[in-house]
């Protein structure tokens, strides 16, 4: 351990000595600079390491001048300041490296001196325990930043610097006044001494409160809180990003620590109020104002300011929020993780912004694909900033939400809304960046600092996850599983040198996990609802991953890793034992699938992400409502111990409804299904949407019985399901893209499953579970076939196809069986699901829902026929005459699935025997139906013999065939164009192929219903919010006088709310 004061002294001596070394040449100066920074970093690291390993138990107290604290100045280094010091020096070193690699404008030695003194100032600021000394160090920091901010010497940076000088001077005037008045009040300048002189009753006197307000207000200005942060945004926009990276990544955090520490020493009683008002408003306002940003640096600036607001909020709660035990600990870790996350990812983002150099967001188009490393760094930072698991930002947010007391639920809600807004603009940016565009990508400078930063960030993320699972005492199994997921997908990425290797690895990993699950009962103890879904996920995944190989050539190298990640996180969802682990894996699934979809349609992926975020954070808010008392993490079973408001259930259910694509939360589905990579869509439709079903079952079984109005909620859900089933089927009819038809069909089918769930009877669950598996089979089949067809024909536009039966007979056979299953026509497997569902609905007497559900299935025939006809029947185009049958893996998967539909159709027990066990594990005694004989299934209303139907259908088909041949017809095959068409033989296939807008007549009948009301409503909301934000962000006029005026207005506002002595 090094005496902290030595750090300051050595840095000072080095800074002074540069004045001499500059005559010896730049190299010497740089040498001195780097030696000093390295020394400082090592020194602080040794202190921090001491704290971390508990080698240093008490905070370090350093007397200066040999006098005991109230007389002399002293340094006080505790755990937090040591850690923060490490961060500051790390970021500082990285920024210096970055700046040097970009080239510092002359005179370079002076700039290095400024940098050194900036780091020195912030270190002193967080180490000192004397109010006036604090002021001095604040001034050192500020003046160094003034100079550095102006370092570009263009009009932007000079303007920013001048604004900073003026506002900073006002701020330091208040700090100075506050410090001196505190001396006058308490007779001392030492923080601890003053704290000993103060008790909270003195705040009623009026003197102390005004003094404290003045002092803390000075610091608040530096913390960039809402009405007075225009200058800060201008710095983020205008100044040199290297400098901004230090400011945002290190210095501001120093101010933050100082603010909290001062408030703590002053025993300031209104910290919570201040924190909520300013922290929350800063957070929300900046997250929304960032929407309309065109300048990438200012966008990052808004994000930084927002994060700072969140930090202030968290800090206020930590110190003054009456938190106890776990909550306090959680909040502390939330703060630490927020700080670390923001420091490392935001500084990386600023570095990258500087390296590329373009300001306008449009100019960033296609950056991701042009330079892979750059893209990786950018993506990681953005993901962590936006709070995507398993990165650090996610754990910070989770800790924060868990720690907030329940009576402040509105804060949870607002913070989550802000988080959604954050995702919205960050990933709008990401959307633009990840778009494909040709061109040369060049940047000036070194990428090493960003690499270092991201490396540290990744390490910290792992640490954050570790800490989260240890601290919350969640089942460690889940934590280990999370590690397993991450490692295995990274392994797929690293070891997969070619797509083939990646494919084999993915297959192997999924297969291995499946083998493990079957062999090892620790993950899945007995067959229950969870193992039902584990098997579902793994079986689906292995089939779909098998089918992807032929398609994978055009996918990027992250396709298979992300695929594995998504699959495994779905397994994680299925095995999770409490709501929080469920949420964690849920978010993992959402984000990884977002990245996968983003390989295809960018805008679609963005909408998917935003909707997922709405769902996911809704779920988190619901979980928050569930948790009470000391037990902060509600497990599934413990949630029954108390009554909670209906909102908890509704909010949690939102997440599942989004994934199920239930109207009106379905707007992501069409494009996300339609434009995601073809290899991924089967998984998205077949398995991923079923996770919503799983969550729905959990909610309905474990949670809903304890909520008020649970019957109303269930009935409402059933209505949502029914209307989704109907309207999505209607919309599917008029799509002209094969995957979009199937997309609407998917969510329509999942609507049926939702009805089954909402019934909450054992027959309902039977129907839901059966249909879940069955939908996986046939929709997987259809999407795999569609993928193959798109692969062969190069188009997904239905009117372009036609007549492909002649080229792809096997695919047609499988597709036909899939369609028959989808339409629910006996004897294939689709009918059983319909029969079970209708029986369940009849049993419950939900007549209207039954009517709508049945009617929706009639409507479904229309798109079923449309798919078959436009793809396979009609006239084959000339350009497809040489098209081959689909690649072998695809055909294998198709035929296996087709075989399954037939087998299950004749013998539904193949699925029902599993679903029965699953239903029994939910506490039901019977599946709701009975076997009268081996194959005859009876419900209260009706009966049905699948085996007979199958045999009957096949048997009479064969008889008919025999009869047909018996008639001795001689069959002559004729050419494709040899048709009796208006007395003429047509000369080209295109002219007689009927493939476009098949249901024009139907459209005229249902025009009102298929108008995109919901989508337009979303658009309208989004646009009006945008317009509102665009108008209100003019608040930041750019006028220095106005900025200063807002400072004064804010001060009077704070005085007004906290002190009633004058007005």
């Amino acid at each position: 351990m090094v005496n902290p004061v030595v750090i300051i002294a050595i840095t000072l001596i080095a800074a002074f000595s540069i004045g001499i070394f500059q005559f010896l040449g730049k190299k010497f100066v740089r040498g001195v600079f780097w030696l000093t920074v390295l020394f400082d970093f090592a020194a602080i690291l040794s202190i921090a390491y001491g704290f971390l390993t508990k080698a240093i138990k008490n905070p370090i107290m350093v007397k200066i001048g040999g006098f005991p604290p109230p007389i002399g100045i002293n340094l006080y280094v505790d755990q937090l300041s040591a850690y923060l010091g490490v961060v500051v020096f790390f970021i500082g070193a990285m920024a210096a490296y970055h700046w040097l690699s970009r080239g510092i404008n002359d005179p370079e030695p002076k700039a290095l001196v400024l940098l050194l003194l900036l780091l020195l100032g912030s270190t002193g600021m967080i180490f000192t325990q004397d109010f006036f000394n604090l002021f001095v160090f604040i001034e050192i920091t500020s003046i160094a930043s003034y100079g550095l901010v102006a370092s570009n010497l263009d009009s932007f940076s000079l303007e920013a610097s001048f604004k900073y000088i003026v506002i900073g001077s006002i701020s330091s005037t208040f700090v100075l006044l506050g410090a001196v008045l505190l001396y006058k009040f308490a007779g001392s300048l030492n923080m601890a001494d003053i704290s000993a002189h103060i008790n909270s009753s003195m705040y009623s006197g009026g003197m102390l409160i005004i003094i404290s307000i003045m002092f803390l207000f000075g610091l608040l200005i530096e913390l960039e809180v809402f009405p007075m942060n225009g200058w800060a945004l201008d710095i983020y926009q205008g100044a040199n990003p290297a400098v901004v990276a230090i400011l945002a990544g290190g210095i501001v955090k120093g101010f933050y620590l100082v603010f909290l520490r001062s408030a703590n020493y002053l025993k300031f009683p209104h910290l919570l109020k201040i924190g909520i008002i300013f922290g929350l408003s800063t957070y929300i306002v900046s997250q929304f104002f960032a929407w309309k940003q065109k300048d990438i640096r200012r966008l990052f600036g808004y994000s930084s300011v927002g994060q700072l607001g969140l930090l202030i909020l968290a800090g206020a709660f930590y110190l003054n929020g009456n938190l106890h035990g776990f909550a306090k600990k959680y909040m502390l870790f939330a703060i630490i993780f927020f700080v670390l996350n923001h420091s490392f990812s935001k500084s990386t983002l600023f570095f990258l912004a500087d390296l590329f150099g373009r300001r306008r967001i449009e100019e960033w188009k296609g950056v991701l694909s042009k330079n892979k490393l750059f893209g990786f760094l950018f993506s990681t930072s953005v993901l962590s900033m936006a709070g995507a698991p398993p990165f650090l930002g996610f754990w910070a947010k989770l800790f924060f939400i868990l720690a907030i007391p329940k009576e402040y639920f509105y804060i949870v809600a607002l913070v989550l809304i802000g988080a959604i807004a954050e995702i919205l603009y960050y990933f709008n940016l990401y959307r633009i960046i990840s778009e494909k565009e040709d061109g040369i990508f060049d940047y000036k400078g070194s990428i090493v600092p960003s690499l270092f930063n991201v490396f540290v960030l990744l390490g910290l993320s792992a640490f954050g996850a570790y800490k989260f699972f240890i601290l919350t005492g969640l089942d460690i199994q889940s934590g280990k599983f999370l590690a397993f997921i991450t490692i295995s997908s990274v392994a797929v990425f690293v070891l997969g040198v070619s797509r083939l290797a990646q494919w084999i690895l993915s297959l192997g990993m999924i297969g291995a996990l499946g083998f493990h699950v079957i062999k090892n009962t620790s993950l899945v103890p007995a067959f229950n609802i969870q193992s039902f879904f584990v098997y579902l996920v793994l079986a689906g995944a292995i089939m779909f991953v098998f089918a992807t190989y032929p398609l994978s050539k055009k996918y990027s190298a992250v396709f298979y890793p992300l695929f594995v990640f998504t699959v495994f996180s779905m397994v994680g969802i299925s095995v999770s034992s409490n709501w929080i682990t469920l949420f964690i894996f849920w978010e993992l699934m959402s984000w990884s699938s977002y990245l996968l979809i983003n390989q295809g349609g960018k805008k679609a992926a963005w909408i998917y992400l935003v909707m997922s975020a709405i769902g996911g954070y809704g779920m988190l808010a619901g979980i928050k409502l569930l948790s009470t008392g000391p037990n902060l993490i509600p497990s599934f079973s413990s949630s029954s111990a108390f009554a909670v408001s209906a909102w908890a259930g509704i909010l949690i259910f939102t997440a599942f409804l989004v994934k199920m694509g239930t109207a009106p939360l379905h707007i992501w589905a069409r494009d996300a299904y339609g434009e995601s990579p073809d290899g991924f869509t089967p998984l998205l439709s077949g398995v991923l949407s079923k996770m919503g079903v799983f969550g729905g079952i959990l909610t309905i079984v474990y949670l809903l019985p304890h909520l008020s109005h649970s019957d109303t909620i269930l009935y409402g859900l059933a209505w949502f399901g029914a209307l989704t089933a109907l309207f999505m089927a209607l919309l599917a009819i008029f799509q002209e893209d094969v995957k979009k038809v199937l997309a609407y069909s998917s969510i329509s089918q999942v609507g049926y499953i939702l009805i089954g769930l909402a019934l909450a009877t054992s027959l309902g669950y039977s129907a839901a579970l059966y249909h879940t598996v069955n939908h996986l089979i046939f929709k997987g089949l259809l999407f795999v076939a569609a993928a193959g067809i798109i692969y062969r024909t190069g188009t997904s536009y239905l009117p372009e196809m036609g007549g492909l039966i002649r080229r792809m007979p096997f695919t047609f056979l499988a597709f036909l069986m899939g369609i028959i299953t989808l339409a629910g026509i006996p004897p294939l497997s689709g009918f059983a699901g319909k029969w079970l569902l209708y029986s369940a609905l009849l049993e419950k007497r939900w007549m209207f829902i039954l009517l709508i559900a049945m009617f929706a299935s009639i409507v479904a025939f229309m798109y079923c026929y449309k798919l078959l006809h436009t793809i396979f029947l009609g006239q084959l185009r000339d350009k497809y005459r040489k098209t081959k049958e689909l690649p072998l893996p695809l055909v294998i998967v198709e035929l296996v699935l087709a075989g399954l539909t037939f087998a299950v159709g004749i013998k539904p027990n193949l699925i029902l025997s599993f679903s029965e066990k699953a239903i029994k594990s939910l506490g039901f005694t019977s599946p709701g139906y009975a076997y009268e004989s081996a194959h005859r299934i009876v419900s209260k209303f009706g009966y049905w013999n699948a085996y007979f139907m199958g045999v009957f259908a096949v048997g009479s088909f064969i008889i008919a065939l025999i009869l047909f041949f018996f008639a001795k017809a001689k069959i002559r095959k004729v050419g494709q164009l040899d048709i009796g068409y208006s007395g003429e033989v047509p000369d080209s296939p295109e002219s007689v192929h009927f493939g476009y807008d098949l249901y024009a007549h139907m459209r005229r009948a249902v025009r009102v219903f298929i108008y995109p009301h919901v989508e337009n409503t979303y658009k309208r909301i989004y646009n009006s919010l945008m317009a509102f934000v665009d108008y209100t962000r003019r608040f930041y006029t750019g006028d220095l006088n106005t900025y200063a005026l807002w400072v004064v207005i804010t001060l009077s506002f704070i005085f007004y709310i906290l002190y009633k002595g004058v007005f």
């Binding site: 079923c864 029947l873 001689k970």
Partner: protein, 301 residues
């Protein structure tokens, strides 16, 4: 069991004959209304035999080839899944195989097969007809489902035999009188189901030469022809079971189905034709409103 198969075969043959006869009668009545002599009532038999005797068939592909089988299978299936005579273990055919829901979905089987086969020919009109048919189906199924669901809930069963059993005990136990509005909705839906005027846009003999069968000839056509006839009979029986109290013997069954047949014939000859969307809109308004009266009555009971 085996004797059931034999009986089933007999029922199929009988159904075919009855269906062909009804077709002939319909043509005759229409001709008389038009003031023509018209073909003999046995014309359909003659046609069938003629078609069966033709030796060469033209095929456009696999689906084209299989479609007639599908069609025939669909027709036979529906006929055999519906109990013709209440209480008769023989003439209830294969109704143990499934309840009303099964029948409803099996009804689509044949239509789907025909539509696919026709479309495989590459003739644009033969695809046009199924799309119209499906659209119209979405139209008439709504009132039909209203009446089916209403009856099922009211009688607490979806087994067709169960529904018939519930109507036993005199004419006023028929659903036609117990739930008149449901029955009216169902019968209007039946008009659509038979694709007769005013809902005949599906076949549209004038514009698109008789729809899907255009490209078919000889044996293919004979299969489709017989499938269609059997299917028609099956549906008459179904409607009889649903609304007219079923039948306790074959004569009653003949009478009741013939009555239903007459309704259709007369309506057909009186009204002009709707366009597709007009038909759909019609089905979604009047019969639905009528059906809902009873539907809600059952719902709130």
């Amino acid at each position: 069991m085996w004797y059931k198969i034999l009986y089933a075969f007999l029922v199929t043959v009988g159904g075919l004959a009855y269906g062909l006869l009804l077709g002939g009668i319909s043509r005759k009545i229409t001709a008389r209304i038009h003031g023509r002599r018209g073909p003999t009532v046995f014309q359909n038999f003659i046609d069938l035999i003629k078609l069966l005797r033709k030796k060469t068939a033209i095929s456009h592909g696999t689906m084209f080839f299989l479609a007639p089988m599908f069609r025939l299978l669909g027709g036979v299936g529906v006929l055999l899944l519906v109990p013709i005579v209440y209480g008769s273990s023989i003439l209830s055919n294969f109704s143990f195989g499934g309840d009303l829901i099964v029948v409803l979905y099996f009804m689509v089987f044949g239509c789907l097969g025909m539509a696919l086969g026709a479309a495989d020919s590459g003739h644009p009109h033969s695809a046009l007809a199924p799309t119209r048919g499906l659209a119209q189906m979405a139209g008439y199924e709504l009132p039909f489902l209203i009446s089916v669901i209403g009856l099922a809930i009211a009688h607490k069963t979806v087994s067709i035999s169960g529904l018939v059993a519930a109507q036993q005990g005199g004419i006023f136990h028929w659903n036609l009188f117990q739930y008149p509005f449901l029955s009216i909705a169902g019968l209007i839906a039946m008009l659509g189901m038979y694709m007769a005027y005013p809902f005949s846009v599906v076949m549209a003999p004038q514009e698109i030469p008789v729809g899907p069968p255009t490209e078919y000839s000889s044996t293919f056509l004979s299969f489709m022809f017989s499938g269609r006839s059997i299917f028609g009979v099956g549906k008459y029986v179904l409607f009889m079971d649903l609304f007219l109290g079923g039948a306790t013997n074959l004569v009653e069954a003949f009478v009741k189905t013939f009555a239903l047949f007459l309704i259709i014939v007369f309506v057909t000859n009186v009204f002009p034709r709707y366009r597709t969307e007009q038909a759909v809109k019609f089905f979604w308004t009047y019969p639905v409103v009528i059906g809902l009266i009873d539907f809600i009555r059952i719902f709130i009971k």
